[in-house]
Point group: C2
Chain length 91, copies 2
């Protein structure tokens, strides 16, 4: 399922136009992103937690040449599924 399909489905479920559904959806993702940018974890009960994980610098490798390279520290968004979410898939 891609974003377009998701929007189409939401449009139906929420009785919104597709444009409105998309705007609503984008507002939500932007709100979450803004919180994360502010180094604020986002906890959604029953769904999961978004958090920014700091990754240390380390040694990597160019798989094409085999050459070793230094990889800088970076950050990425992690999503930790809530307990309820795991149970859905393991029953």
């Amino acid at each position: 399922m891609n974003k377009k399909q998701l929007i189409a489905q939401l449009s139906g479920s929420l009785s919104l136009s597709k444009a409105d559904a998309e705007r609503t959806f984008d507002t939500i993702t932007n709100t979450i992103l803004d919180a994360l940018k502010g180094d604020d974890n986002v906890k959604i009960a029953g769904f999961g937690t978004y958090k920014v994980a700091k990754r240390k610098a380390r040694v990597g490798r160019n798989p094409r040449t085999g050459e070793q390279i230094q990889i800088a520290a970076s950050q990425k968004v992690k999503f930790l599924p809530a307990k309820a979410l795991k149970e859905v898939f393991n029953k």
Copy 2:
């Protein structure tokens, strides 16, 4: 930021009552979950991809006792941040 705070913020941004904002948000998460339950990955351009990762059974260990234990196969939801999302945090 927890769900309540997120809902409050969305309520303002979207000019919805908190009850409506919450219903909208729940509809979205449920839609995503339903797709995942149907073994369908959810790709949100510019945000990320939710996918169900199947984990094989394997041998683990109780770190308290050192005892070896068999861990059953399981599934969990993985979120892979999109390229745009990584860039936000590494600039």
